[in-house]
């Protein structure tokens, strides 16, 4: 049972205030949002920052619901993903991790690199360019999620791909939201 204590300690050391692991659906998304919203409400955080946190959470959660690749284990398919919120002294962090098929990595990497290479004005232009030309994909996305997260964050997106096996990797994303006003 020591892992319970270890997990608890690890969350404290890493300033993690919320973790959800498991299957992600629109229903779990709504539950996580309302729970986080209540916590933020009682924290007395400034409303602009609360809105941004909510915004990034929605995009991160819906990204998992729509895009996380399914891992097949025996008979079972599952979206084994994780979602975390960190609360450090000067910033909040919205973090997520989900399996991705190795062949899907290059496209995602390219799009994240492009976003991180842009400044505020560049992100605005990219957003407008995508929204004008995009159509909603079969998965229900507009292709705007990461651009929007980068705009709301105001900082670079932090990301990495952790090797799992020959078929899958684990995509980790961290989006920071500063508590101090720009």
């Amino acid at each position: 049972m020591k892992f319970i204590y270890d997990l608890h300690q690890s969350m404290k050391t890493n300033n993690v205030v919320l973790v959800y692991e498991g299957d992600f659906t629109q229903t779990t998304t709504k539950s996580i949002l309302s729970m986080a919203e209540r916590n933020l409400e009682s924290s007395g955080e400034e409303s602009g920052i609360k809105k941004r946190i909510f915004n990034v959470m929605v995009e991160a959660l819906q990204n998992i619901v729509k895009h996380s690749d399914e891992i097949q284990e025996g008979e079972n398919k599952h979206h084994a993903a994780i979602f975390l919120i960190g609360n450090e002294q000067c910033r909040y962090s919205i973090m997520s991790g989900n399996p991705i098929r190795n062949e899907n990595i290059p496209t995602l990497r390219k799009s994240l690199e492009k976003i991180n290479g842009l400044d505020k004005e560049g992100l605005k232009e990219l957003y407008k360019e995508i929204i004008k030309n995009t159509t909603i994909s079969e998965k229900g996305g507009a292709g705007l999620g990461f651009v929007d997260m980068a705009r709301k964050s105001g900082e670079k997106l932090e990301w990495s791909f952790v090797d799992v096996d020959s078929e899958f990797s684990f995509f980790c994303l961290k989006v920071n939201i500063s508590r101090t006003k720009e």
Binding site: G48, Q62, Y127, I131, I136, G140, A142
Partner: protein, 120 residues
């Protein structure tokens, strides 16, 4: 024309489109799982309305929050309204929600409709 009345929920906005009473409003939160499906009746209603439109239409958008998939559909709604003469968008944002004000300004740069910005 029949009134389109969609009750709001925690992840979908309240929508009223009422030609006879001149009420056209989208309000609340918009983060549906399937935004294209959610906004489909709205777009269909507006296309029918375009054929029998009132001389003027004040279209109220008073959203507290919308996700990126909804933003694409909001642009589709605005593009449909672009072809209806006499349309004005009344874009509401909470007085301390600059991001929502900016979002409205960006939409106004993407379509040829007059926008009025208001706070609540």
């Amino acid at each position: 024309m029949e009134i389109l009345n969609i009750e709001g929920a925690e992840d979908t906005p309240k929508i009223i489109l009422d030609k006879n009473n001149g009420i056209f409003e989208i309000s609340g939160r918009s983060l549906p799982e399937d935004s294209a499906e959610f906004y489909r009746p709205v777009l269909e209603w507006l296309r029918s309305y375009a054929k029998v439109a009132n001389p003027t239409m004040d279209f109220v958008i008073k959203l507290e929050y919308f996700n990126t998939a909804s933003s694409k559909l909001i642009l589709d709604v605005l593009s449909t309204l672009e072809d209806i003469k006499g349309t004005t968008i009344q874009w509401y944002h909470h007085e301390d929600d600059e991001d929502m004000e900016d979002a409205g300004k960006e939409f106004s740069e993407l379509v040829e409709i007059s926008f009025e910005f208001k706070t609540y």
